[in-house]
Amino acid sequence: MSSTFDAVANIIAETCDIPRDTIKQESHVINDLGIDSLDFLDVAFAIDKAFGIKMPLEQWTQEVNEGKATTEQYFVLKNLCAHIDTLVAAKGA
């Protein structure tokens, strides 16, 4: 988790020009870091490439829009990193 968090935080800092020390495990990508959907495409591209995965963003968005999930479940960094770890593990299974 911590190595995933460090990698994701570095990607966000570099991609979105956000000071690295302001990015915390509890940071909400949208509400706290102010990353909009367009900037998040660049973040998603970098994460997908770095971890060799394809984050199911459309599925996550649909679940949020339908009230089946909250944005916190996917876009608070510690939760996002847990999902990334799951996707990486599934890839290697």
Binding site: L38, A44, F45, K49, M55, E58
Partner: protein
């Protein structure tokens, strides 16, 4: 190339789904009102239209990869370089490579060569979504046939 219809591509030369690449060609018109303003006495193809030409080529690649099920909408570009002037009558050899197909987005790398020389290049990000209505899909099907899109288009998308 028809500036007034924003139709930048004239031909799809090759669509390679295995390697996720496309090659297209575009003939810059010898005369256009665009050149009367850009620039008077020194006509040049505007850089934004070169970017659009690369975007449209990338878009056809993305549509090809997803089996004509979804539309590509330009969202951003980066690392754009306009390396040489493009003039009326030039033939543009455009190529694009799909760098990544994400969930609801895609990233490509595209370039234009004129006379074999690299003229411009960029990386582009697209939102990829269902065709928003039947009218747009029908237009794209018609354009695909005109351009020589080399794949059978699914009847129901």
């Amino acid at each position: 190339m028809r500036f007034d219809y924003f139709q930048m591509i004239d031909r799809i030369v090759d669509l390679d789904l295995d390697n996720r690449t496309i090659r297209t060609q575009a003939d810059v018109p010898a005369a256009s009102t665009v050149f009367e303003g850009h620039f008077p006495g020194y006509p040049l193809m505007p850089g934004v239209l070169l970017l659009e030409t690369m975007a449209q080529s990338s878009g056809w690649l993305i549509i090809g990869v997803n089996g004509f099920k979804r539309m590509a909408f330009l969202a951003s570009f980066s690392e754009a370089k306009l390396r040489s002037f493009v003039k009326p009558g030039d033939v543009l050899d455009v190529s694009a490579t799909l760098l990544h197909e994400g969930s609801g987005f895609a990233r490509t790398k595209a370039q234009i060569r004129v006379g074999g020389k690299l003229s411009c290049n960029a990386e582009m990000t697209f939102r990829v979504a269902e065709f928003p209505n039947a009218e747009l899909r029908a237009h794209m099907e018609k354009a695909a046939a005109t351009l020589g899109f080399p794949l059978e288009i699914p009847v129901h998308g």
